[in-house]
Symmetry: C2
Subunit: 410 residues, 2 copies
């Protein structure tokens, strides 16, 4: 993509009411735009990153045998009344529509997926299975000040699994934990994420959260340095030692919750009479699990964790482009290299604008592509192209042939 064609550019001004690092940086870099508090548009660069994270998550969900579906944002009041959550879910958006009916904007989909699945399940032979969606959710937050970390509207992946027994659910639950760590590893965050024991709500003793250590996190977690497990502060009174090794010497840290998985047991299947017939003929409620992962929140978390004072440092798998090519008054040479790279499906953002070298360097650091390639009088004299990784201070000169060989084989 040539930057003279890209309709966005880096901005100097950000909305006055935006205080979070992730949103101010993403707005300045032209990745997102703030529509109103807690509500953002994704612009071409931001949409590319979001789509890459989405594809990683989709692949891991399909590998778990998840069947992809798409449930609506609107639900009728009745669905939410059946579980008692119409009155008890504190951030439920409620709408009075012109047919005089009340609707909710779903912040989660147990109230939708359970009656849906009920239409297809009657026997143990139809279990287990799992469905997932990548879909926009809504939360009626009183305050929304953390950028993409706590939005009124946000993209989520939610997976729901259906089983004939707690044992079967437990085995699947472990596989989902593995898949989640695959996702975080592929998104460049593995070492920052702690599996955290948290409140199970009304469903079960514990739920499990995936917490990313960060000073801007809203949660406090207590980490066991031996097991790399953690306990959320909300349950530390009941669980003041490592659930695995019993170690009581836990370290408190602030963290951002990027995922939360629940053993729902039979709470929702009982509410909606989602039952199945056992091999013995006995009728039982289906055992359910639910597994959430905030996709736009994960993007915001990555920005909080992967940056320096100059801007974002994208992990390679989710960078908007692998290469940021800068021409310093050498557009003819740069154009040739650009064409050769894109012909070979290398992802290149090409700064062909008529602005100063300093502005181009600053924009490249802010946008944060993994590799910066500079073609200038100086680089040509030195034998080719200056190649610098975003996180490094120094680059090296590669010949055009070396550049092509390096990036095309990647």
């Amino acid at each position: 993509m040539k930057q003279t064609k890209l309709f966005t550019k880096t901005l100097k001004e950000v909305p006055k009411d935006e205080t979070s690092y992730n949103a101010t940086t993403l707005i300045r870099a032209g990745f997102i735009d703030k529509t109103t508090a807690g509500v953002y548009s994704f612009l071409p660069l931001g949409w590319r990153v979001l789509t890459k994270i989405e594809m990683i998550i989709r692949e891991e969900m399909l590998a778990l045998g998840g069947q992809e579906i798409n449930m609506p944002a609107l639900a009728s009041k009745e669905n939410w009344q059946i579980t008692g959550r119409w009155d008890n879910f504190d951030v439920l958006f409620k709408i009075k529509a012109s047919d005089n009916k009340d609707y909710a904007l779903n912040p989660t989909h147990e109230e939708i997926v359970t009656p849906l699945v009920k239409k297809f399940v009657s026997s143990y032979r139809e279990l287990p299975f799992a469905v997932f969606q990548i879909q926009t959710k809504f939360r009626n937050e009183k305050r929304a000040k953390a950028g993409l970390l706590r939005g009124r509207e946000f993209l989520m992946k939610d997976l729901y699994s259906f089983h004939s027994s707690q044992e079967d659910l437990a085995a699947y639950y472990e596989k989902v934990i593995e898949a989640y760590f695959n996702i975080f590893t592929r998104c460049g965050l593995r070492e920052n994420i702690f599996l955290t024991y948290a409140s199970g709500g009304s469903f079960t003793k514990y739920s499990h959260e995936f917490q990313a250590l960060s000073p801007v996190g809203e949660d406090v977690i207590y980490i066991c340095p031996r097991c790399q497990l953690a306990v959320n502060q909300e349950i530390i009174k009941d669980q003041d030692s490592c659930p695995q090794c019993g170690n009581k010497d836990l370290r408190a840290e602030k963290a951002i919750e990027v995922g939360n998985i629940f053993n729902l047991g039979t709470k929702f299947s009982e509410a909606f009479a989602l039952n199945f017939q056992e091999q013995t003929g006995e009728k039982k409620p289906v055992v359910m699990g639910c597994y959430g992962l905030g996709i736009s929140r994960l993007l915001g978390t990555i920005v909080e964790l992967c940056h320096d004072e100059k801007g974002i440092i994208w992990p390679k798998n989710i960078a908007p482009y692998q290469i940021h090519l800068l021409s310093l008054n050498k557009n003819e040479e740069a154009e040739k290299l650009y064409q050769e790279l894109i012909a070979n499906r290398v992802e290149v953002l090409y700064d062909d604008r008529n602005i100063s070298a300093g502005e181009k360097f600053a924009a490249a650091d802010l946008i944060g592509c993994p590799y910066r390639l500079v073609i200038s009088e100086k680089s040509i004299k030195a034998g080719g192209v200056e190649v610098k990784q975003r996180q490094n201070k120094e680059g090296e000169i590669l010949s055009l042939e070396q550049v092509v060989a390096t990036f095309i084989k990647k």
Copy 2:
């Protein structure tokens, strides 16, 4: 996909309040589920079709130079007040949120994209460009009775273009018309679609609709048989002849509007002061076009147009699977063929269920994949596999080698 693994199945019952052919058939075939009136979930088969239509549309939009973005569903009241549409847009969903602010659920995005683009445009040098999104829209419909043809929540593609002159917009507008016809052709509907002159609202003299002939359509259009152009009944008083050849002998037909494109002129750029500086230094409002296409509505339209008394007949490019493989008590042989086809990335739905041949045939006709392959005692005796196209009455026997050669090269 093996049908023993697919969590949906064909259903005999449909919701009593569902009267449209498209929704009742898609529900019976397990493609969608009705959450509430005008609000549907897409199940694995339906989601596959929707995703294929989406990809065709995305490719054509990218070919037009469109830059993909994603704007939110929520907007603040202020955005809609600036254009006066907070009070005048009859199907706008309005929400009072817990921060005591009013929000709209966007049914269209001029109120969002115009102030967004304003942050990046100041000079003629930054024009023209176009942005598009594939995103969920909301309409507060009093009645929703036509299935996917008129939903309260639905998937749309909307493209917005920005120009320095009416001439530049006019040239782009023509290219969009071409791209739309490419989309309909690729979705198997070309011959059914008429470019229709319709009301331009407060923006311009005409807008253009893409109307699919169908007895269930809500619109009446007057077709010029010579030019294959049409005039919407809403403007037939002002335009009672073919806009191209002047022919007054027009034929009235019912039709479904699947797309609508507008020359917005400067209506929205003036409201939001989206201006640019000309080469001469003169300041002018940007000239805008907007181009909508209902993706879930297009899916519903295809079902209305492409079916027989037994079920859906999917056009090949958007079928959930190319092949529906039926094993009639020959699971060993069928499994072998299934594995060979999927190893070669052929899309196969494999009915490996333990049900009667009659039920399998009925489900295959209802689901409507382009090719039905039957492996049975009879087909094996005759030399292989019975291959039948969905729209044909008779199939033919092909050897296993012929089947593999036929479908793998496709």
